[in-house]
Symmetry: C2
């Protein structure tokens, strides 16, 4: 049975009860609007742990003032049904004021990793992500937490936070789930109209093209960047926000690709901004 | 028996073992150079919990570039003996590089509370304190942690951090321990020469004078500030850094004293900076 808790106290009581029964606790933090990507994380948690907690909380502090907080989708009943189908034991669904009470003033900052790429486009975004995830970890106190590789920079920021602050949680970064044509699943895909949806495959195609060229021996980031820019420019309604070739650990850009290279990519389809990424081992 | 752990892994193993034995865990974080003030915290922990952990770690990140990190006293053998006498079960004594590995980049900031008073005199100080205490909490995972009211702003910053980040630790703020003449115990008192030591009682005397004047009905912060400034000015070698009259919760200055008022005070005795404080309920 899937139970729903809205308070910190109820959540802790449910988790403590599971612990008393000797169960390991898995945790999947989400903003709701759940799709097969989230389901995949829940399935990993279900396989590895005896008590699966999902949080559904649209975190205001990771949205910028001009971003889509108010129109972010909140199909709560559907989300609960998906959780039920994937064997979630407990949903933590707090009100915003329970997470950010009046006079809230403590923030977690992962310097360096939080500032580039998504962080440059969305100032304060990763501060909001790191802070809310640390809060959720402290509330749920899971053994293992599950995140998607789709949000590669988020995963890296959170891994660093967990490492630096000695947070007693094991991090699992799980593969990106894609539509048949290669589009990475995202709650924001539902903002796309039919034409945008069809053209959105360009993100995956760009990454595939980069992969093909590196397999042929190309190592110059500038060449690969031009390749992506040219491809995106051909697509109606698409506008490249950034593509980068970065060290997987530091997220610092590299000119000549070698070792473990992360390729993050962000493209506007109309007013909707989509991200994707690929990890290359060269 | 008092055991000493230098690694995160050993510390967690010892604490986990205590938990398996059903013991509540008390924690007293210190920078060593232990005195009767620390001993009092250890005694509180000993009374309330079944397994007492003390950390001894001179935290570099809470010292400014011009501060006394290198000359800060480190009488480790004496500290261990004091811990033993006060029934400490485990001392966590890590190397700096175990706490701050290469590429450490995550910081906890308690905005507002961290910036004034001690924070203004010592930029970055409370960021360092909040970050290391959160790390130590994550390493030890105590039920109850003990801090001294002597460092009133530190206590307030940490209480706020624990509250805001849902840290599952109960905070106990314990009374300041004083010498017979009223001087608050501090590891920095040993920097004082004989004359400075004698004159250092001025901090306590100033706070007593403030208390007496408020008991007579004085409520104007400006009048009380002048009283303190005049008293410190009379003492050879003493220089007032700041005295303030602040809301206990927000640490914001107030002109007309009412409710719970914290009076933090910082005075240089020669090159040694001493702090003290008093809580007034009006």
């Amino acid at each position: 049975m899937t139970r729903i808790a809205t308070t910190v106290e109820d959540t802790r009581a449910e988790v403590a009860d599971a612990r008393r029964r000797g169960l390991a606790v898995g945790f999947v933090p989400t903003m709701g609007a759940l799709h097969a990507g989230h389901a995949s994380l829940l399935d990993f948690a279900r396989q590895e742990t005896g008590f699966v907690v999902a949080s559904i909380f649209v975190n205001p502090s990771q949205f910028g003032p001009k971003e889509d907080l108010s129109r972010y989708p909140r199909p709560f009943e559907n989300d609960v049904e998906l959780c039920r189908q994937h064997g979630v034991d407990l949903i933590f669904h707090p009100a915003p004021e329970a997470v950010y009470p009046l006079n809230f003033r403590t923030w977690v900052e992962v310097h360096g990793l939080q500032d580039r790429w998504e962080g440059a486009t969305r100032p304060g975004h990763f501060r909001g992500v790191a802070t809310v995830v640390l809060k959720l970890f402290n509330i749920v106190q899971p053994d293992i937490a599950y995140f998607g590789q789709k949000d590669a920079q988020q995963a890296r920021v959170l891994e660093q936070m967990v490492h630096d602050l000695n947070v007693p949680v094991t991090m699992r970064i799980c593969p990106t789930v894609r539509e048949a044509d290669g589009l990475a699943l995202s709650s924001r895909n539902q903002y796309l109209d039919v034409d945008q949806r069809r053209h959105a495959v360009v993100l995956h195609q760009c990454l595939e093209a980069v992969h093909a060229r590196t397999a042929q021996g190309e190592r110059a980031a500038a060449v690969l960047r031009d390749l992506v820019a040219a491809r995106v420019a051909q697509v109606p309604g698409a506008r490249l926000d950034y593509v980068a070739f970065v060290d997987r650990a530091t997220l610092e850009p590299i000119d000549h690709l070698q070792g473990e290279v992360l390729v993050p990519l962000a493209v506007f389809m109309g007013s909707t901004r989509l991200i994707d990424n690929m990890l290359l081992t060269l």
